[in-house]
């Protein structure tokens, strides 16, 4: 048994010019965006903003030019991702597409699928949603019941319900994880991924599911005899499980897995200026040590993905540690500053604290629960 090594990322990846360029753009583009809005992190949605990133060549950065990409390195892409998150930019209109749907299409898609979709993602014109969870298939993804039946003309007839589908109401496409043969008892076998055009598929109904703050990010997506045209299959029929597991490594290791509470940390440091004493210094020192270590590990995962190595266990560790860090922040802030949390407050600390406290429970649920991640880590250690 060997400890999981995180490869050392290059200390400076020759990316400082790019970082300066991105920062300058964000500084002027996001002027006037309140700390509370910035605290929404990757839930903030602004199609025009995504388009502007696309125009600057900051989406689909690592993809081949012939699909609208820019053939830049994983570390250059990382710079853009972390700078936009740290600035609290509204990235939701492109985030899922750029992070995981695009890379999945690039890897498994047909030439026609790649040509039709990737350039639109890179231009910031295309929003994706992820059709994985179902009412009875949450952490137990293999229990998926939604079924796509092949038709004689090559099309697929889909029936079933997906749940917790973030931004389905804004999405152009979904990558649907479903059963194409067998029954839920067959578990991983007989599952596939399908591309669903969310705007042009009759029989698809999207209904909002409000979160505990009353905000609309989640949806239920119901398929009733929805017909997907021939050519909708993504990758290989029956290989859906393996494809999805690869996709999750992209979903679990990025800077969004430890920067969700960053705006609260920024407000806390502001509130501690000239106050706070030993307790404040100790708390900030500890949080900063966690943050810098997580960033080092996350960039190490980027190095693994760049080499084409399997990073699923490394990604699970980053996400588990990252979510714990993000979730600790509200209570640490409360212990140091005497202010009541209040979404409507004019105090930035109070409003951001209220928001982050209410957002935090989701951090260890979305993208794989803490329990699932720890199971993945335990399996790597050979005890499962």
């Amino acid at each position: 048994m060997k400890t999981l090594e995180f490869p050392a990322p290059p200390p400076r990846a020759g990316d400082e010019d790019l970082r300066r360029e991105v920062r300058n753009f964000l500084e002027s583009r996001l002027e006037g965006r309140s700390p509370l809005q910035r605290a929404e992190s990757w839930n903030g949605f602004d199609r025009q903003f995504s388009r502007e990133l696309g125009q600057r060549g900051w989406l689909g950065m690592t993809w081949p030019r012939k699909y609208g990409g820019h053939e830049r390195t994983a570390f250059e892409r990382y710079v853009v991702m972390e700078e936009t998150l740290a600035a609290g930019a509204p990235v939701a209109a492109h985030w899922i597409a750029d992070r995981q749907s695009g890379p999945t299409i690039l890897r498994y898609g047909t030439e026609a699928q790649k040509e039709a979709i990737l350039p639109k993602i890179a231009a910031g014109e295309c929003t994706f949603c992820i059709g994985m969870s179902e009412p009875d298939a949450g952490s137990d993804l293999a229990a998926t019941r939604t079924r796509a039946e092949p038709q004689s003309d090559g099309s697929w007839r889909v029936n079933g319900t997906k749940l917790w589908t973030t931004y389905a109401h804004e999405a152009h496409y979904m990558i649907l994880f479903c059963r194409t043969s067998g029954s839920p008892a067959d578990r991983h076998k007989g599952t596939s991924q399908m591309l669903v055009d969310m705007r042009a598929t009759p029989g698809v109904t999207v209904s909002p599911v409000l979160d505990l703050m009353g905000q609309h990010h989640f949806n239920e997506v119901h398929f009733e005899d929805a017909i997907l045209p021939a050519g909708s299959l993504l990758g290989t029929e029956g290989e859906g499980w393996a494809q999805v597991m690869g996709e999750l490594a992209f979903e679990r290791s990025g800077p969004e897995r430890f920067l969700s509470s960053i705006q609260l940390l920024i407000e806390l440091i502001g509130a501690l200026q000239g106050a706070g004493g030993e307790g404040g210094r100790n708390a900030i020192g500890r949080l900063f040590a966690h943050l810098v270590t997580l960033r080092h590990m996350s960039r190490g995962v980027a190095a693994l993905l760049e080499r084409g190595d399997d990073a699923s266990v490394h990604a699970a560790i980053v996400k588990d540690l990252g979510a714990t860090f993000e979730q600790e922040l509200p209570d640490i802030a409360r212990s140091l500053i005497d202010e009541e949390p209040d979404l409507a407050s004019t105090s930035h600390f109070a409003s951001v604290l209220a928001y982050t406290t209410m957002a935090a429970p989701a951090f260890s649920l979305r993208g794989g629960t803490r329990e699932i991640l720890r199971g993945i880590i335990a399996r790597q250690l050979g005890v499962r």
Binding site: T3, I266, T293
Partner: protein, 269 residues
């Protein structure tokens, strides 16, 4: 790491592992065995790993010398290997004769930059010791049976072990980070050492608690080697600056940059 460094590392690992395993219960070790062990370590050249070339050292870059310190942490025995490595480096830096024999009580009379290097060495030792503790604990829960099955079959045990593995991975990453930073230009090496000490100190607290919990009573017995690592780490985490001191030092630097400078400090760290 080039081929020569890999050979040096492998040799050190083999030597120290063999010696640590043969040491048994340290208290019962005959003096002759201790002396023979020390002589083997001395003969290997390992004690010169942090010494510059011109002072008769191995000519390793500091970051690679610290890699050997981490190995010494993984195979921790009753000899003051790391303290002697440090004492010899500092003696040479101070223009003193490099004394033969083990450094009793560790290096003394250090300049501030020497204290920082000693603190980083402790961080590397702790990362190495945590790796050993993870390996030991993983093996134990696979072997020990209760209720008719190995402990490893219980989900509560699996998840505790996963948390331990996460802390060990973070500790190793923090040590790597600091070793990388002291060699790179454009970063504050002191801040990087503080980050490593703060993060690794916390990993020690969580990691040793889990390791003892999963080992049960046997891990608390003197005859078991687990406590050689855990009690050592409980000392190391507060030596050459306590964990709290290093943590506050990082906090002070970050707070001084204010909200506006926070993200730049993160990237520049």
């Amino acid at each position: 790491m080039d081929e020569i460094s890999a050979i040096v590392s492998d040799t050190a690992r083999r030597l120290l592992r063999g010696l640590a395993e043969a040491a048994g219960t340290w208290e019962d070790m005959p003096e002759s065995a201790w002396t023979a062990g020390w002589q083997a370590i001395e003969d290997s050249g390992l004690l010169l790993a942090l010494l510059p070339d011109e002072d008769g050292g191995l000519g390793l870059p500091l970051s690679e010398g610290l890699g050997l310190v981490r190995i010494a942490g993984s195979h921790h025995g009753p000899w003051p290997v790391v303290d002697t490595m440090l004492a010899r480096r500092f003696a040479a830096e101070n223009g003193q004769d490099v004394a033969a024999g083990p450094a009793a009580g560790g290096p003394s009379e250090m300049a501030p930059h020497q204290r920082d290097i000693a603190a980083l060495a402790r961080a590397c030792q702790m990362a190495g010791a945590l790796e050993a503790v993870l390996e030991m604990t993983t093996a134990y829960v696979g072997e020990r049976h209760q209720f008719g099955r190995p402990l490893a079959r219980f989900q509560a045990i699996q998840h505790s072990l996963a948390v331990l593995a996460g802390e060990v991975a973070a500790a190793c990453a923090a040590a790597d980070f600091a070793c990388q930073r002291i060699a790179a230009e454009g970063h504050d090496p002191i801040l990087a050492i503080g980050i490593a000490r703060a993060r690794i100190g916390e990993a020690v607290s969580r990691g040793t608690a889990i390791a003892h919990q999963l080992h049960g009573a046997i891990g608390y017995a003197r005859e078991h080697r687990l406590h050689r690592y855990t009690t050592a780490m409980w000392r190391w985490r507060d030596e050459f600056g306590t964990q709290a001191w290093w943590t506050r030092r990082v906090g002070m630097a970050v707070i001084a940059e204010g909200s506006d400078g926070f993200w730049s400090s993160t990237v520049a760290a």
